[in-house]
């Protein structure tokens, strides 16, 4: 079970909670489960969400594992100039 922290724009989707617990082994399962449990996640996922796992930010890597007890944050995908 992964404890996933949300940034402010996502919190209304889960009733204002700061984080949600999700059964997922990797980023792909995390996104799939979130979309199933909270359909309002879908447009955010389509736009792209980054996942910070123990401080390392992943943008596209579906098979990245979510280690037990890892610190996980969903973040907006950063733009660049």
């Amino acid at each position: 079970m992964a404890e996933v922290h949300l940034w402010g724009a996502l919190r209304p989707i889960v009733g204002g909670a700061l984080s949600v617990s999700v059964e997922a082994k990797n980023i792909r399962e995390l996104f799939k489960t979130l979309a199933e449990q909270y359909p309002a996640f879908e447009p955010h996922l389509q736009r792209g969400i980054a996942v910070s796992i123990n401080g390392k930010i992943y943008r596209d890597t579906w098979d990245q594992a979510l280690p037990e007890g890892a610190e996980i944050y969903l973040l907006p995908r950063i733009p660049g100039g």
Partner: protein, 753 residues
């Protein structure tokens, strides 16, 4: 096998040296080909008709007279660009920004485009196109747009991120927040609180080369695009999607780039040139004028930021709260969100909250500008922290050192930091000779810190060993600041050959897999990773070929200093084979020798900087001059230190211009008043001192060499560093950027009275 990206602390032979850049001679002798330097046989010249109104409904466009003009070969309007975006809001906005559909949304919004045999004919044709507008009320100010009385620009935008969901549309497309702790409790614990509203005006990246392209679409549906861009693969994908083309049928070749800084991460005229070419069945060249670049490409947001920071008398910050309003131009965007994420990232804060409010106004669609959204947020935070230090009576550097984030700090945007360099840059600033140098009359010194994330992304690379043993490296990230040199150094380092024996080229989109843009300070980080991996793959092939030449097993060969060697005495007693010898025999040992890699580069290291600025202010005129400027920044590892220094200096120069002069000025009619370099003043060499640099190297643990991105962070601190210097020079705290002479003079006069 995937590349092991862990930092190895290896000793380098070539990385860290300063050879000449491979594009240097062509650039200083005029041989380099930029966007407008390419011409195709039989090409037409295209011009775009643009709206003079900030907000208007298009009632009718009559192109009939223009079509009859001799020499006109094609005219397009939105009717020629059907909406193929299938509900993708981002793509639909992109399409609508390239060519207005039912409404024009800003001064300069395209309404039609013409391709003709020459520019004179195209210009005449534009004058013959009749557009019937119904003028609508407009709003161009970020604060005015949020007022209930403001005209609502899109009636299908409802604020996202709030509960309950709004039932009325508005110009606020999104709200979000970041942070942790209890800010109310934190402010109760504070002895001193600083609270202000700060404003920054809209600025343009100011790249010297205007947008330019040549499009050529054949009747069989295949197309070519020569274009000045920061990301030719992304341009290809987006243009193909908007025009209903197969991506593989459109080949995009990138020209040299005369500056981008985020402004060339977005398509503007390219789909128009392709659509015109498809309609006319001729190549079409489309070049923006400077006025068009200002009016209708993608400047950064103007902002309005409420900032409140509290601290104890010993300098410990107890709470920080920011409400950041950024506009995205005439379309929904999320620029304020990134401001809120970056605002407090330099500090270890127990109670912190950054709230973002995204605003839509009748201005051009905002694009990224170097560390997008971070400089404005840093201006507010670093100004407030400087004022806090004054009120406490504490040295501004010491207060920052006391509160600096470090390894293990929970960042204000969420994750816990690994090894980071903010503390090291502050210590270096504290001990820098610049900090101790005497100041003259009307002079002041200020300093400020800045943060940027950096990122990686999709990247691939081909390394080919040519028959004479020299090497070509094909990459897909545009070289905006010397990356061909740094990529060449990394390839040479891995292969153990001379830098001079490596040629790095930017491949076209049909020659390499998809690559994300050169943005997010990712070029040297991500393409460097792909290059290191491709070189290691090429080395495996080289060792296998040597094994064949010696008739021994492949695993009995090692690669050292550019040579294949037997792994040990049991492998045989053979003299080393050089890359040249192995390449010469390639035809007999299996054919061409190459190494390839494709990856998603994750784990870009965050970046921090501290800047010091000395300024002199003329109290009679309000004119200010930067007398001395120092940039201290963590590079992780500087592959080519000269071009790292160049990035530091360039970012500082742009930030100084933003701080002191640059500003979009709109009239009451919603039209841009200063769309040219005479009236929009960017600093030139004679305006600036030599910008001193100090490179710190705190390795990124997620890169074998320790590389972090370096391109963007340097523009984050200058707005605040200059403002803090100004405050110390004349005793006035300006909260509105730019601090142009009229604003400074007004503030000085107000203080006198």
């Amino acid at each position: 096998m995937p590349l092991d990206t862990n930092f190895t602390n290896q000793k380098f032979k070539q990385v860290g040296t300063r050879p000449l850049r491979p594009d240097g001679v062509d650039k200083v002798t005029g041989r380099a080909k930029y966007g407008a330097d390419y011409n195709a046989p039989g090409q037409l010249i295209a011009l775009v008709l643009r709206s003079p109104h900030a907000h208007a409904r298009i009632k009718k466009i009559d192109t009939s007279k223009a079509e009859k003009l001799a020499g006109v070969k094609a005219i397009i309007t939105s009717a020629d660009l059907p909406d193929l975006t299938a509900g993708d809001r981002g793509m639909r906005d992109m399409l609508e920004n390239c060519m207005a559909r039912k409404k024009v949304l800003y001064d300069g919004h395209a309404v039609a485009a013409v391709a003709a045999i020459d520019q004179t004919t195209a210009r005449k044709a534009l004058k013959l196109i009749q557009v019937d507008y119904e003028i609508l009320p407009h709003v161009t100010d970020v604060d005015e747009a949020l007022k209930p009385s403001a005209p609502v620009i899109h009636n299908d935008i409802f604020t996202e991120g709030v509960e309950p969901k709004p039932t009325k549309p508005s110009n606020n497309n999104k709200r979000a927040s970041f942070g942790h702790g209890d800010i109310e409790q934190g402010f109760r614990e504070a002895d001193i609180i600083v609270e202000h509203t700060y404003k920054t005006e809209q600025t343009h990246q100011g790249y010297i080369e205007p947008h330019a392209c040549v499009a050529n679409v054949s009747p069989d549906g295949q197309g070519e695009l020569w274009v000045c861009t920061q990301g030719h693969f992304v341009y290809r994908n987006q243009c193909a999607a908007l025009l209903g083309m197969d991506i593989s049928k459109l080949r995009v070749t990138a020209s040299e780039i005369g500056g981008g800084f985020g402004g060339k991460t977005h398509i503007w005229t390219e789909p128009l040139a392709l659509a015109l070419s498809r309609k006319a069945n001729r190549p079409v060249k489309l070049t923006m004028s400077r006025e068009e670049v200002f009016r209708c490409s993608g400047p950064t947001s103007s902002t309005s930021i409420d900032m409140k920071i509290g601290a104890k008398r010993d300098g410990t910050i107890t709470a920080a709260h920011g409400v950041l309003r950024y506009h995205g131009g005439a379309f929904p965007a999320t620029w304020a969100e990134f401001g809120a994420m970056t605002a407090f990232a330099c500090y270890d804060l127990k109670n912190v909250k950054g709230e973002s409010i995204e605003v839509i106004v009748n201005r051009p669609k905002t694009a990224a500008y170097r560390a997008p959204s971070a400089p404005m947020a840093a201006f507010a935070v670093e100004s407030a922290i400087d004022e806090l230090a004054k009120k406490i009576g504490m040295d501004a550097v010491e207060l920052r050192i006391k509160n600096a984030a470090k390894q293990g700090t929970q960042s204000s945007y969420g994750p816990v930091y690994g090894p980071i360099g903010i503390g090291a840059t502050l210590e270096a600033a504290k001990n820098h000779a610049h900090m101790k140098a005497p100041l003259g009359k009307n002079q002041g010194r200020g300093m400020a810190c800045g943060f940027w994330f950096n990122f990686g992304g999709q990247t691939c690379c081909d390394i080919n060993v040519t028959p004479d043993g020299t090497v070509t490296v094909a990459v897909g990230t545009i070289d905006v600041g010397g990356s061909r040199a740094s990529i060449g150094l990394m390839a040479a380092e891995e292969l153990g050959i001379s830098y001079e024996d490596v040629r790095v080229v930017i491949a076209d989109t049909s020659s390499l897999g998809h690559n994300d843009m050169t943005d997010g300070s990712r070029g040297t980080f991500s393409t460097g990773l792909a290059t290191i991996a491709a070189a290691r793959n090429a080395i495996k092939v080289l060792c296998a070929r040597a094994a064949k030449m010696w008739d021994i097993p492949e695993d009995a060969v090692v690669w050292e200093d550019g040579h294949a060697k037997p792994a040990g005495t049991n492998a045989g007693n053979f003299p080393p084979l050089s890359i040249k010898e192995i390449a010469a025999a390639a035809g007999n040992t299996g054919g061409p020798i190459a190494g390839h890699n494709e990856l998603v580069a994750d784990g870009a290291g965050v970046s921090f900087a501290t800047h010091i600025c000395d300024i002199e202010v003329d109290p009679e005129t309000g004119r200010s001059t930067v007398k001395r400027y120092t940039v201290i920044q963590d590079a992780g590892k500087a592959i080519h230190p000269s071009y790292v220094e160049g990035q530091y200096q360039g970012g500082a120069a742009q930030g100084i211009g933003w701080a002191l002069n640059e500003e979009y000025i709109y009239g009451k009619d919603g039209r841009l008043q200063n769309a040219g370099f005479l009236d929009y003043r960017i600093p030139v060499c004679s305006d600036l001192p030599f910008i001193d640099t100090m490179i710190l190297e705190i390795p990124n643990p997620n890169h074998p060499y320790g590389v972090r991105g370096v391109g963007e962070t340097s523009i984050v601190p200058p707005l605040a560093a200059v403002a803090n210097a100004m405050s110390n020079a004349v005793g006035i705290r300006l909260t509105h950027i730019p601090m142009s002479p009229p604003r400074v003079l007004k503030a000085i006069s107000a203080r006198k009275h």
